[in-house]
């Protein structure tokens, strides 16, 4: 396997939660795996297949990409961890399949910041071999809103949010869930008895109507009737973890580990995201950049935000518990990931 991983790897720091293919299968995400596998198999018979694998940070796209690398015959594997120079963009020629990881680094949200992405997409359009790419889904959604990036790909595979049951299966497969005792506390914390799913009904043309569909939170409602038993508390714990993590498996794992205290876990121990952290527009923009890139160096932020005191703003974000700085790199830790997302959603900065 030819691998041209860039200078700084994007491997998880200690404490971060990396998922394996076995975890995907345990969580019932076989369909996504099969989609990737069948696309790769079909690509051997077709030409010009371009695949985009999308997920939130920590949700497991790296494992899917590694799976693709293992499946392909002699692929060129490139991984970005910062905005690359023009000449470090991979050439797409011949018949060698290409796997490009972390394509969210191919653009900057600034004037002239899309030129590299345009060049890459242009090469992609003219390419013969299979190209598998991975993207941060928040960056992708933004790009799709302003440039319709999806049109450049024949297949997009988005890792879905996991339900409470899937989170439970995932934890069963990964963690020693028999270890902590499930205990109740006076208050379970905030729950929604009825949730609202949104179904998008396609109309003629590109129009779509958003139809809200109420969905009762059955795990929570059923727990009212089975009180103080491990089973009912357990289901509430998983439901709450799933809800707080917005179904993101990496965040769910981090929340699970964080919530266990003295060998016990209670629903009220699971932190609830606060959507309002009292940050200003500049700090929110910095947070968006960090979320979309996954991790970014302070130097890059300094160059990007020339008229802003980046260190001061990052300190405020760190004080609010939204980011951590590890040497030159800034990232959002797994546990407060939901809070950062909630803050940006509240400001309509996520698509």
């Amino acid at each position: 396997v030819a691998e041209e991983v860039s200078a700084v790897e994007t491997r998880p720091a200690s404490g971060r939660s990396e998922l394996s293919i076995a975890d995907f299968e345990a969580a019932g995400l076989d369909a996504r795996l099969e989609a990737l596998e069948s696309t790769i198999e079909n690509a051997e018979n077709e030409s010009s297949a371009n695949v985009a694998v999308l997920s939130e940070p920590l949700a497991g796209k790296r494992s899917l990409i590694q799976h693709a690398v293992n499946m392909l015959e002699n692929p060129l594997h490139v991984s970005f961890d910062r905005v690359p120079e023009d000449d470090s963009l991979p050439a797409i020629d011949g018949s060698q399949p290409l796997v490009v990881e972390n394509c969210q680094y191919l653009f900057e949200r600034s004037i002239g910041g899309f030129e590299l992405l345009d060049t890459f997409l242009e090469r992609l359009a003219l390419s013969e071999p299979l190209v598998v790419t991975s993207w941060n889904s928040f960056a992708w959604d933004y790009l799709d809103a302003i440039t319709e990036v999806e049109e450049s790909f024949t297949e997009t595979i988005r890792l879905p949010s996991l339900s409470g049951g899937q989170i439970s299966d995932l934890l069963d497969a990964r963690e020693d869930v028999s270890q902590p005792g499930f205990v109740t506390t006076a208050e379970y914390g905030r729950f929604k008895t009825i949730d609202v799913d949104h179904y998008s009904l396609r109309l003629f043309g590109d129009r779509a109507v958003d139809i809200p569909i109420p969905r009762p939170n059955t795990e929570w409602v059923s727990s009212w009737f089975v009180d103080d038993t491990d089973e009912s508390i357990e289901s509430v714990v998983y439901e709450k973890i799933s809800r707080v993590a917005s179904g993101n498996p990496g965040v769910a794992l981090a929340l699970w580990r964080e919530s266990i205290s003295d060998g016990e876990v209670a629903p009220a121990d699971i932190r609830e995201p606060d959507a309002d952290h009292g940050i200003d527009a500049t700090q929110a923009h910095l947070l968006w950049v960090i979320l979309c890139k996954g991790s970014i160096t302070r130097n890059t932020l300094d160059e990007r935000f020339e008229e802003v005191s980046v260190d001061k703003e990052l300190q405020t974000l760190a004080d609010r518990g939204l980011v951590v700085t590890e040497g030159p790199t800034v990232r959002i830790p797994p546990a407060p990931m939901s809070e950062a997302i909630a803050e940006l959603e509240r400001r309509r900065m996520l698509w």
Binding site: A145, A281, H285, W288, R347, R348, M349
Partner: protein, 273 residues
């Protein structure tokens, strides 16, 4: 005679007046408290605040209408003939001193029911443009960009055109214009403005709410006009400032110049908003 009147006042009228006053004060306090609570809830909802702010004037009207009904019912025990006579009296009052006040109240009622605007909207009424802060029984309060609170009588709704920039939605279209020299390659200037608009942290772009940039060729200059939605109408000035600042810097870097107009024709518009 005076003693008899004082006795009647003390025995019958004073308690009724006191109770009516109590109802009025209670209604005022209740309306203030409910309005305050709803405002706090609305502020926590950020861009979804309009779902709550739309209720504030309605709640106030219900409270005041109930209070008025209770006061009238308590103070006066009208028969049908008396109601008829009172209607005549009311008509006369309308014709004279209370006409404007009643027009304001009816204007307020129309605002609550038809909702040509609601609290939080960006509205132009007459010569004023600003965010609606409160819709009262008699007047609407509007906060302009230079932090001036303007009270607009509700009856102006019947006499003036009201332009609502966002119609109860958080997002609002903002237009930013730049003027460049006719030598400027239009594609280059358009690309800079387009990039600046879609990369602004305040922009809101969807399939239904796209960002567009147009070039208009005039005799002595070219206009680059960007139209895009902001995530929240409160970011209108932030968006204009952010886009203008970055575009002007980029124009400088790219050597794009302001229009040059022959001096006999007067001053040219400068490259900018």
């Amino acid at each position: 005679m005076v003693i008899v009147l004082q006795s009647v006042f003390k025995q019958f009228l004073a308690p009724k007046l006191f109770t009516a006053l109590l109802v009025l004060v209670s209604a005022y306090l209740l309306a203030r408290v409910l309005g305050g609570v709803l405002s706090i809830v609305a502020s926590r909802l950020a861009t979804a605040r309009f779902r709550v702010t739309t209720l504030i004037p309605l709640v106030k009207f219900v409270v005041y209408a109930t209070a008025t009904y209770l006061m009238v019912a308590f103070l006066f025990d009208f028969s049908s003939d008396q109601i008829l006579a009172f209607s005549g009296l009311l008509g006369a009052a309308l014709g004279f001193g209370l006409r404007d006040l009643i027009a304001d109240l009816i204007g307020g009622l129309v605002i609550v029911t038809e909702q040509p605007y609601q609290i939080g909207d960006m509205v132009s009424v007459g010569e004023y443009y600003g965010e609606i802060q409160d819709i009262g029984l008699r007047s609407t309060k509007l906060l302009t960009w230079n932090d001036t609170l303007v009270s607009v009588p509700n009856f102006m709704l019947f006499n003036e055109s009201v332009a609502n920039a966002n119609a109860g939605q958080a997002e609002m279209m903002v237009v930013v214009e730049f003027y460049v020299d006719t030598e400027t390659p239009p594609g280059q200037a358009r690309k800079i403005v387009s990039d600046a608009v879609v990369t602004s942290p305040f922009v809101y772009v969807t399939d239904d709410l796209p960002a567009n940039v147009y070039v208009e060729d005039e005799l002595y200059y070219r206009t680059i006009r960007a139209r895009a939605y902001v995530t929240d109408l409160r970011h209108e000035l932030d968006f204009k400032h952010d886009v203008s600042e970055r575009v002007l810097d980029a124009f400088d870097e790219a050597g794009i110049e302001s229009p040059r107009v022959p001096s006999e024709l007067g001053s040219a518009p400068s490259a900018g908003v």
